[in-house]
Symmetry: C2
Subunit: 505 residues, 2 copies
């Protein structure tokens, strides 16, 4: 009953199959853009709700800034525009008119507008109006928005021309406070990835050549996909005074001197959903962590004789009422009764492909015996994955069951990450040979052929070219440095800095 492609067979095709069979998203007729379908969007809503709460707990306020940024704003920060100029959607006209029977852009704008690839440029402009004195600082805002980067090789969730994200933007009176903020939000991302998405990550900072354009430091959380590649899951940038100088965010400090503010920005996007897929999905389809599952429990009625309908439905409704009193993760439980007029087995496979954590099949025999047939997606195909349980025990145990599934998903992914960071590669030769192979899929419980390497890096400026030639990247410079001396795996030069090398998305 597997998908058309398996992870071992054709990993990229498998990824597409998972998304399409789960009805999470699809390519749109609008080139390079995706349609996020209800199951995919539902996952995004859960991620958003969880992280929005964190944003507010940490005293940030949601705002909304214009999507159109005047071109001249990009001229102010040279590195920033260099980083994004090649992938910007440009609005040049403000209407259409019929000309020779063809709809044609008209009303040429005096100044072209850029559809935000990120909002530092326009938000810095607002900050410059809001901040006059140290008393106005810090400014702590966030927005949930769509952004556009003109990807030439789009892939659902991972790289689409338009995507959804949150972007936090803050301004502070001191560098220390801004750096603290940058790291606080990095930690919030680690927490989100690990405790909500059940996706373990490595944390650290980016090397110079991988920094956000215009940043002083970029910190990141990096996850390992099932093919051993890295996915940058979130970034938090300390922007120093770069954007403050460009946009003139200046304030009078306590000593009555004028000073530029220190700013930060940080974001995670719908790309996280791509990470969740490649962390948890299997050859049968999607597996959604209970915390972000649009429905945590799905109920499939199994009605063999029409005259049983009332009794079965009454039993199901009683069960749903009882389940609704339960609070997995301390929140309202999310239950779906599948009312479609389809064969129960087809409904079951639909929810399996979608990766709903728990599916209950309930028929006349269950209604009469006070039982529930409980199927756990994570244990599909195993004897424990399919059990008939007393309804009362099922209800009273559902919160614990979902919490256990969440924990098991994290443990499994953590195990994969921990067992696939090679630390024993010590020379450039071994290193090059290691990355000559390519990984298809890291089978559960077994080490993959190629995944991450933790090793030394000299910081040599030539690294960027060497990495490009080998098609690998430095994912991060982990915070936990060993401090030992060794040999740079790229250049062979002496080096003390530990970095994570990997292929990446």
């Amino acid at each position: 009953m597997g998908l058309k492609n398996s992870r071992a067979g054709n990993y990229p095709e498998w990824y597409q199959n998972v998304i399409s069979e789960a009805s999470m998203a699809e390519n749109s007729s609008s080139p390079g853009c995706m349609v996020i379908k209800p199951w995919g969007y539902g996952i995004w809503e859960r991620i958003r709700d969880v992280f929005d709460e964190k944003i507010k707990e940490t005293d940030h306020e949601n705002c909304y800034f214009p999507m159109f940024i005047p071109l001249s704003f990009f001229q102010k920060e040279a590195e920033h525009v260099d980083g994004f100029a090649k992938e910007m959607a440009v609005v040049t006209h403000s209407r259409l008119a019929m000309k020779d029977g063809k709809l044609t852009p008209e009303g040429k704008l005096e100044e072209p507008l850029i559809v935000r690839p990120t909002s530092e440029a326009i938000i810095a402009d607002s900050f410059s109006k809001w901040v006059k004195s140290y008393r106005d600082l810090p400014v702590l805002v966030n927005q949930w928005a769509n952004v556009v980067r003109w990807e030439m090789r789009p892939r659902l969730f991972l790289r689409t021309r338009e995507f959804l994200w949150q972007e936090g933007h803050t301004a502070h009176a001191s560098a220390a406070e801004a750096e603290e903020e940058t790291k606080r939000m990095l930690e919030a991302y680690r927490d989100l990835c690990e405790n909500t998405l059940a996706m373990p990550v490595l944390v650290g900072r980016k090397p110079e050549h991988e920094k956000f354009p215009g940043a002083v430091e970029t910190y990141c959380v990096e996850a390992m996909m099932q093919d051993g590649k890295a996915l940058q899951a979130g970034t938090s940038h300390f922007l120093g005074q770069n954007f403050a100088k460009a946009a003139n965010i200046s304030f009078v400090n306590k000593n009555n001197e004028s000073e530029f503010a220190y700013t930060t920005s940080w974001g995670v996007s719908t790309r996280l959903i791509g990470g969740v897929i490649m962390t948890h999905a299997d050859d049968e389809g999607m597996v959604v962590p209970p915390k972000i599952a649009p429905y945590q429990v799905v109920i499939v009625p199994v009605i063999k004789k029409a005259e049983d309908t009332d009794a079965v439905m009454a039993y199901i409704n009683k069960l749903i009422t009882a389940l609704k009193t339960q609070l997995p993760f301390g929140e309202k439980i999310r239950i779906k009764l599948d009312k479609r007029n389809k064969a129960p087995v087809d409904m079951f496979w639909d929810w399996t492909r979608k990766g709903a954590p728990v599916v209950c099949e309930i028929g006349m025999r269950d209604a009469e015996g006070g039982k529930v047939m409980v199927k756990e997606r994570l244990k599909l195909g195993t004897p424990e994955g399919k059990q008939i349980i007393e309804a009362e025990a099922f209800v009273s145990g559902i919160a614990r069951r979902l919490e256990d599934i969440q924990a098991a998903m994290f443990a499994k992914a953590k195990d994969r990450l921990m067992h696939n960071i090679r630390t024993d590669i010590k020379t450039p030769e071994e290193f090059a040979k290691y990355f000559e192979a390519s990984n298809v899929w890291i089978e559960d419980g077994k080490p993959g052929k190629v995944a991450f390497v933790r090793g030394k890096w000299s910081g040599d400026p030539a690294s960027e070219e060497l990495l490009k030639a080998m098609k690998i990247t430095i994912r991060c410079i982990p915070f936990d440095q060993s401090g030992t001396e060794g040999v740079c795996l790229l250049t062979g030069k002496p080096a003390t800095t530990d970095v994570i090398y990997a292929r990446s998305y």
Copy 2:
């Protein structure tokens, strides 16, 4: 202590003052676009949460569709493109390059892309892929998104080039079912406006010349602002088979015949916030209905001696803990402790300008006596608007108090609406004379000089020009028709249809 401008003095300036003093939004450096600031965005979040629940209760699912619509998609529905062509942002290039020292658009697109002014065209394209059989119907989706209409005279919340909204889109197997959906969502809007925003509305359908471009019927909810003008607060469109034919949304029906689906769309936007302002704000600033107030209760500490700080703060924290057990409107209460280092009187006026429903000032005397100074925004300046109450009574009564404020705000606005629909104007002469005057502000409890007229309309095609010349509009053809015969207030011809005439935003 009033705003710079009053409603009676300069109504349009008063509107701007309310928004700016409440820090709800501001004009951006991005031409014609606004920055929605935390207090304004917080109101939008509440509106969104309330309506999102309704959307889901009525079996709609949230999705996300691309913001860029290929130009050719607009060529398919002639009326639709006619309606929007004059206000479309057009993306024509995909990157910037430095040319002669100037950033210049490059990478001209083969086909220009339109930034959605509304999404019928792109969503119909998806529907055409999703719908094959009657079994696939109905399709019931919604998205929360930004849209762009190139307004030439932008006004905060009411008309900005970019705004936020929800747009529901559905496809059905029969016209009757689609019409039922259209009316169900119209009723959902009436309920939202009246029971959440405390903004009474008239419901009805639009005359032919005011319909959504491409619709068979447009239904609307119309509110009366304090200057007697109408604000279209929401619209629900029955699109018949127009978009289905344009995008080929066809399905095999139960009789095994191919048929085009019947579609609907419906939306409300951040414009609602403009409506809330002009329904409830007064000469002292904003007044926010408790149901959508980002904070329902604000606590301002009044600490006169530093040594009182601990005692006062301990008392306040105890009060907050007690308040949090209360559930106004059956929901978690929203409380803000104002920790700013500002004079209490300034904090109080800040929250007055913002229109927080209840502000508590708490000092040492209150802490010692177990009391709370309670100020109600709606009763500002009256003796009942400022009372010292036992803390326990305040806590146990807070839900009821907020619910009463909500009800009082609705009653006041309803009263204004009911007393300002003239039904006694019977001839075109009287009618023209009536609208020669202009209204500034409908003082509470008094009829305005000019507001709405309910009277006859012949439906004559010349009406559109006549209305334009008089700068008035037909807001809607109310569902409750009297059926009596009379004289068209525009043409003097015999007419039986009752309509609502008004100036409008």
